[in-house]
């Protein structure tokens, strides 16, 4: 299961990349082949197949998708000024809240991918950031609001970086596969969280000892809300933090020495080492930065709209795993991740809390999101399918030129 293969040379063409079969080569392929066609086709096919499931179980898929579209608040775009669309505006603000989280979780996966690693531990890093933000947000009440928010965000982000850094360190020093170690770190974070918020746990509410829920963070630790009301989970300025993170991601990868080294290691660790790049340092660094994005997602959620967290919330959170679908769909680029996050953010809210439909119940639609997510990840990971699309495009292009 080694991703660094001493026998592999730099893949010359996508075809060759696919045949060498390493994760890195496959990522290099996905970076270049197919353009926007592959993600677009993937999404369409996944929605079609999801629609077939809906049809087979006796619901109208077109109406179901329309209701999900409305549930996500995307109908607001068509009539933003009418009075009737308060629900639409609210739903869209909720979709954007989910998008915020998914952008950051997607970047966490994408950054590690660019260094040739699969960070499957975004969920754990997200939790660690969230726990730290909750702890500091509750404990340091009365601090200057700006400082308090900053403290929560910085500490939570660092916690995420450290959590992922363990996996990076183990990979760099003893060659432990990052997939295995991040999966283990996920479950450690999940059980530690159950302990923290559970009865008698350190972060459990002091007001009601029987409830396995934390205290609310202090008002000084809450992010300002820009759309909607704070009591109703309005959209916080966290969305701008996420958008800034997209820019940071792009600049870091494409305009800094660090990014150059990370990409070089991701593309071909042997060649990078030969060129004088410290591979081990970059593995640890890339993993830590990757975890920082996920940790940031956790802190933004805690300070942005959750404010408190309970033991029973833990198994229902899957944003870290959705980040995998977001990053793969966005082909590990900044713009792609942003768009992928919007799609899955809309699905996440539109199929659950936002959905008011007599065509399909939220319990069904919520699971439809998992099915679509699974199909997207399944199709996008298939090199041969991508090559097929790539080759078709190549064949089509000269024909178009002649015409």
């Amino acid at each position: 299961m080694s991703t660094i293969d001493p026998n592999s040379s730099a893949p010359e063409s996508p075809e060759e990349a696919a045949s060498s079969g390493t994760l890195i080569a496959s990522i290099a392929l996905k970076q270049r082949a197919g353009g926007i066609a592959v993600p677009a086709v993937t999404v369409v096919v996944a929605f079609l197949m999801g629609g077939l499931v809906v049809l087979a179980t006796g619901h109208n898929p077109l109406l179901a998708y329309r209701d999900i579209f409305d549930g996500a608040g995307l109908n607001w775009i068509f009539h933003p000024t009418t009075n009737l669309v308060n629900t639409a505006a609210y739903n869209l603000s909720q979709t954007l809240l989910q998008t915020t989280t998914l952008i950051l979780c997607g970047l966490a996966v994408a950054f590690a991918f660019r260094c040739g690693m699969f960070n499957i531990g975004g969920q754990g890093q997200y939790f660690v950031g969230l726990f730290v933000a909750n702890w500091l947000g509750v404990d340091f009440a009365g601090l200057n609001p700006f400082l308090h928010v900053l403290l929560c965000i910085v500490a939570g982000t660092l916690a995420g970086a450290l959590w992922a850094g363990i996996a990076g360190f183990l990979k760099a020093t003893v060659g432990a596969h990052e997939v295995i170690s991040t999966i283990m770190l996920n479950w450690i974070a999940i059980w530690v969280g159950s302990w923290l918020f559970g009865a008698g746990g350190p972060l459990q509410s002091s007001a009601n000892k029987s409830l396995p829920v934390s205290n609310d963070i202090a008002n000084s630790a809450k992010l300002p809300v820009i759309w909607g009301q704070q009591e109703l989970q309005g959209l916080s300025i966290g969305i701008f933090v996420a958008l800034a993170a997209l820019v940071v991601f792009w600049v870091l990868l494409n305009r800094t020495t660090l990014g150059y080294e990370v990409r070089a290691v991701g593309f071909n660790p042997e060649a990078a080492a030969y060129g004088g790049i410290n591979v081990k340092k970059n593995l640890i660094r890339a993993m830590a930065i990757s975890g920082a994005f996920a940790g940031l997602a956790g802190t933004i959620d805690m300070t942005g709209y959750l404010y408190h967290y309970g033991q029973s919330d833990i198994p229902f959170s899957s944003v870290g795993f959705l980040g995998i679908a977001v990053a793969l769909l966005g082909r590990n680029t900044a713009v792609g991740t942003g768009l992928g996050a919007l799609l899955f953010g809309a699905l996440l809210f539109g199929t659950t809390h936002g959905l008011t439909s007599n065509v399909i119940q939220p319990e069904l639609a919520g699971n439809l999101t998992y099915i679509i997510q699974g199909l997207v990840v399944l199709f996008i990971g298939a090199d041969v399918l991508i090559l097929y699309v790539w080759n078709t495009r190549k064949k089509l292009r000269p024909r178009r030129a002649r015409a």
Partner: protein
Amino acid sequence: MTAWVERLENPLSARLRDPATTGYAGVLLGVLAAFLAIPPIQSRTITWPIVVGIVGVAFGIWTVTRGRTRLGWGAVASAVIGIGLGILATHSGTSNLNAVFDAALIAQTFGFATPLVFGAIGGMFSERSGVVNIGLEGMMLMGAFWGVYGADKGGSWVVGILVGMAVGAAIALVYAFFAIHLRADQIVGGTAVNFLALGITGYFFFQLYHGNYIPSGVSQIPNVKIPGISGSHFLGPAIGDLNLMIWAGFALVVVSYLVVFKTPIGLRIRACGEHPRAADTVGINVYAVRYGCVVLSGILAALGGVYLSDGFGGGTFINNMTDGRGFIALAALIFGNWRPAGAFAAALLFGFSSAVALRLQVYSPSASTLFNVLPYVLTLIAVAGVIGRTVPPAADGRPYKKQ
């Protein structure tokens, strides 16, 4: 033959001075130190655990000075932990101790371990043939839902087992097609399987049961009452009344060991996992072997799931019922170094820790929750190489392209 002759000719004292012997003896003494203080022996003074533990430490240090540093320090750690646990146990109340450590603990350990055994052995077949199976969790979940559904609608647990196996095979076949023919990245594909299974089971559970529980009175996988033993004071609750699937799991370990290591089929499977090109050259159909192994892994993981819902769970299903057990099975596989006996031992250890965690609630619910991290921490330590190196099959996770 010669090795055996040499070993026989060695005087006994030389074998006792072998650092490996003393090292393992030290580890065992550490376990014994803790064991002395709990029922049925239950020493109420701290003398015995300390004396035995110190002997264990001495054995460990001897081993370290003889060059087997890792094993030696392992023995020292085991002995020190043994002393600590022994002292803790002597300080706790007798009634609590008896509540945690009784004969039923053994049965419960087997109960928790059996889904892991099926999952880990399934994963072993897949990974031995060179296909990483992160999707064990999803395959197990599919087995859990469709198995209990089959038992409910078919009226018999036999139908449930058959339906579960068929569904496990089906989802594994989809995964195999993407991983083998389409050369998808196997970790991405496995992640997709987990999402798909979560979505499909959740969707159809709601669709088929309209949001209700599975009605009671579902035909369950029966227990095996062993005549003569089931009435015994200690053996009765321990092994006299175990579920049929637990015994099937024991048999599976033995059979899979024989198949993988003692038959030509097993040799072919291992060849495909270590060096597929060489296997192909000598006429082994790599694709066929890999398809067979992945489908078998799906069937076995699904059987673990059927046991979970229709045996261990008493004929129920809840959303995401496996709750990470597929990942613990994966951990057991790695911890057991991709071998049936090793995976079985690891599954027993993890099952034991789950059973103990459940029972620790008599002391403190909070500590009981935290105890659940043990399998994951142990696996993290194992992949970090602290206790020996774990070595996956050489071509594990690499798609193979025919030439």
